[in-house]
Symmetry: C2
Subunit: 90 residues, 2 copies
């Protein structure tokens, strides 16, 4: 899998990311990975559920991984942030 | 598994839930399930990661499920909310 199959979920409206995932699937990819950190984790779950329930009914959740990544704050300190990786396939 | 092994993650400080999970494991349970909905999903991932990385190093993520649940808003409308279920075991 290349990085092109990955959709990074940030702070934009949820439907922007839903559209990005649908576009990936419709371009012929059979697998799309959603990645998010921190508060965007909830949004990543929303995106996966909306794609699956409303748009691409044969898309399934293949794997979900959670982890911890180091992150540098605006003040220059290093802290840890949780991350999620949701693999969707059809 | 009984409901007693389940920790529902809400809007309290993260460490409250970390303590609840540690207490479950220390009382002899080998499995604890973390459940959360909506924005608390990110906190559930934080709780699992903090327990695993800082407190109970032999605790592992056994399974992660995501889903959609119907919810009634304060105005009486029915809407959907994403949910997560993180199964931890040792």
């Amino acid at each position: 899998m290349t990085e092109e199959n990955t959709v990074f979920i940030g702070n934009k409206p949820t439907m922007n990311y839903v559209l990005a995932v649908i576009t990936q699937f419709n371009s012929g990819d059979n697998k799309v990975v959603l990645k998010a950190r921190g508060r965007a984790i909830s949004r990543a779950v929303d995106v996966a559920e909306i794609v699956r329930n409303r748009f691409i009914s044969d898309a399934k959740i293949k794997d979900i991984k959670i982890g911890t990544e180091p992150m540098t704050t605006e003040e220059g300190r290093t802290t840890n942030i949780s991350s999620i990786e949701i693999s969707m396939g059809k």
